[in-house]
Symmetry: C2
Subunit: 361 residues, 2 copies
Amino acid sequence: APVVDKEVDFAQYFCTYAFLYHQKEMLSDRVRMDAYFNAVFKNKHHFQGRTVLDVGTGSGILAIWSAKAGARKVYAVEATKMAEHARALVKSNGLQNVVEVIEGSMEDVTLPEKVDVIISEWMGYFLLRESMFDSVICARDRWLKPTGVMYPSHARMWLAPIRSGLVDDKWNDYGGAMDDWHRFLDDTKTSYGVDMSVLTNHFDEEQQRYYLQTSLWKNLHPHQVIGAAAIVKEIDCLTATVADVLNVRANLTSIINSPNTRLCGFGGWFDVHFRGRKEDPAQQEIELTTAPNTENSTHWGQQVFLLHPPIHVSEGDDLDISFAMDRAKENHRLMEVELGCKITMSSGTPMPPFSKKFHIE
Amino acid sequence: APVVDKEVDFAQYFCTYAFLYHQKEMLSDRVRMDAYFNAVFKNKHHFQGRTVLDVGTGSGILAIWSAKAGARKVYAVEATKMAEHARALVKSNGLQNVVEVIEGSMEDVTLPEKVDVIISEWMGYFLLRESMFDSVICARDRWLKPTGVMYPSHARMWLAPIRSGLVDDKWNDYGGAMDDWHRFLDDTKTSYGVDMSVLTNHFDEEQQRYYLQTSLWKNLHPHQVIGAAAIVKEIDCLTATVADVLNVRANLTSIINSPNTRLCGFGGWFDVHFRGRKEDPAQQEIELTTAPNTENSTHWGQQVFLLHPPIHVSEGDDLDISFAMDRAKENHRLMEVELGCKITMSSGTPMPPFSKKFHIE
Ligand SMILES: Nc1ncnc2c1ncn2[C@@H]1O[C@H](CSCC[C@H](N)C(=O)O)[C@@H](O)[C@H]1O
Ligand SMILES: Nc1ncnc2c1ncn2[C@@H]1O[C@H](CSCC[C@H](N)C(=O)O)[C@@H](O)[C@H]1O
C-alpha cells in the first residue's frame, strides 16, 4: 500500500483535525451526532461496566458518551493536539476517572488491557477517503476482545446515476480556462517574444484534471437521482481487512427511473449501521446515512463524478456499471476511481460504452 | 533556523509550483514580466557571451530571455517537475544549446563552472515569505564569480499606515463566529448532554488568530495609504546573508497625511531594483515595485496588518513604529510579525502605545 512519509501525513492530513473549528463542524452535524448518540444511549447494555476504545477521539465526544452510558473505562486515543482539549472536556464533565485520553497515533499506542467495544467515527467522503478505517482495523486486531463489539458494525458504499447542472458549469469553466490560455499564449509571444504553445497539451491536461476529472463535494437533491441506487461495497467492521478496502471493485446495475433526462454522472455516498455483534446484538439498531436528503444533509454530502458530455437517457434504460477505486499513488488518503458504463436503452438498443477516470481529492 | 522536514517542505511549498496554472499566474503579471524583461534586454551587456544561473526557473522564462539576450550558457535550476516543461519550452524555442535545465534543489545541484550572472525571481509576499532568498544566497556563495552580478541587485521592504473597511469586516466575522459558538454550546448541552464551555477560550484564540491576527493579501488603493511609507529593510543581494534576513528588526517613523481618518492598520510591500554591480553597473536601471497602484497592481498585492479597533488619527500625527519579523516556528517559509506603535498627535499629546502580533500565512 502506498503510504506517505509520516511527517508529511501529519502536515497534510492530521493538521486540520487540530483545529476546534473543524471538530465543531463535525459536532454540528446533527445527522451524525444523533446517530452516534442514539447508538450509544439506546444500547447501554453494550457499555455498562465495559471497557471502550475510541479511535480518534477528537474533542472526546464519543468517549464522553460512552462513559455516560456506564462504561467502566474508556481509552480515548487522538493523534493531534486536540487530545489536550478532549482531556479538558472530560475533566470539566467530571469523567476523568473513567475516560483516559491518550495523545498518539493509534498504530503506536499501547493499552493496559483489551476492550469490549471499539467506537470510532472514521468515515471520510464516500466512506473510504482519508483511509482512517485502516487505523480502526489495526486497533481492532490488537485491542478488541474476541467477544468485542464494533461501533459502527457495518458500512456500505452506494452509487446512483444523477443529473446535475454542475456538468455544464464545469465544462464552461474548463472552456474559459483554455480560452484564457490561448490569449495568454498570444500575449506572451507578442509582448515577450516567447512561444509557449508547446505547453498547451500539458496545461490542457492539468485543467481537465482539475475541472473534469476531480470528483466534487455536493449535497444533491433527491430529485437529482435519476435511477436506482446500487451498493458498491459492504463492509463488516468486525472482520474486514485492509486488503478488503484497498482496491474496491464492483459490477453494478441500475435502471433509469426518470423520463427524458440527462445522465450527468454518478453520485456516491455511504451509510453505516450500529447492530452490535451476532452473539451480542444491538437492542435498537441505528443507521447513519449520507444519502441525498432535503432535510437531513450531512457534512459528508455526496461525492459527484461528472460525465462530459452528459448522455440523454430515459425511464427504463439499463446501466451496467463497472466501478474501481484505488488509493492515489502520491497520497494513500486520497482515491482514484474508474467508472465504466454500458447503457442499454429500454428499446434494447445498446449505446456506445464509455469509461472515465476520476480523482477524489 | 527552524527548517521543516524536506519531504514536508516539498508537499507544502514546492507542490504548487509544479502546476502550469500557478506558473501562468506569475507569467501573466505584467508588472513583474515587464520589469524582468526590461532588466534583461536593456542590459544586454551583462548577458552577451556570459554564463548565467537562473535560480528556480519555473517555466524557464528568465533563462530563455537570458539566452535571447546573448548568454553563452544558462543553467536553469528548478526543484519541481516543472523542469520538464521548462526543458520542452527551451527546445521549442531553439535554445537547447544554450539553456541547460537541471531538475533539483539549488542547494543540492553541482554546476560545471561559476557564473557571471545570477537571475532569480525569488520574492514572496512582503518580499521574504517563502524564504526562497536563502536559496539564492546559497547559489551566490557557491556559484557566482567574484565579479558576478545579481538580478535583481537590491530589494527593500516598505510599511505604511492605512485605512481599510476590512477592519470592520474581519471584526464582524470574528463576532459572528463567536456568536455561533455560543449557540453551538447551548445546542450541544441541550441535545447531547455535554457542556463544552471549557473549550471557549481556546476556540476564541483560534478565531482571533484566524480573523484578527493573520495578515491579509490585498490590492490597496493608493488613497487607502494615509501616511508616509517607510523603509523597513534594505537588502543588497550581492552581500546579504541568511542571518540578515532571518530576524528583521526596524524602528520607523511615519506621519499621517490625511485629515480625520482611521488608522486601520499597516500595509506592507516591497520593491526590487536591477542596478548591476558597482564595477559593472546597469546601462539602464530597472525597478519592480509592488506598492499600491491603481493601474499596475501585481499578483503580490500588499500584505495588510489590521488593528482592532482602529484608531482615530489626523494630518500631522506622528507614528513611531517598531517592527519585528521572524520565521514561524513550525514552518520556516511563513512569518510572524510584531508591530508596536506610539502615536503622538499633532497637538503634541501622546496616545497610549500598543503592540500586536500577526502571522503571515
Ligand atoms: N491513526 C490515528 N490515531 C489517532 N487519531 C487518529 C488517527 N487517525 C485519525 N485520527 C483522529 O481521528 C479523528 C477523526 S474525526 C472524529 C472525531 C470524534 N471522534 C467525533 O466523532 O467527533 C480526528 O481527530 C483525527 O485526528
Ligand atoms: N531551492 C530551490 N531550488 C530549485 N528551485 C526552487 C528552489 N526554491 C524555489 N524554487 C522554484 O523557484 C520558482 C520560483 S517562481 C519563479 C519562476 C520563474 N523564474 C519565473 O520568473 O516565472 C518555483 O518554480 C520554485 O519551484
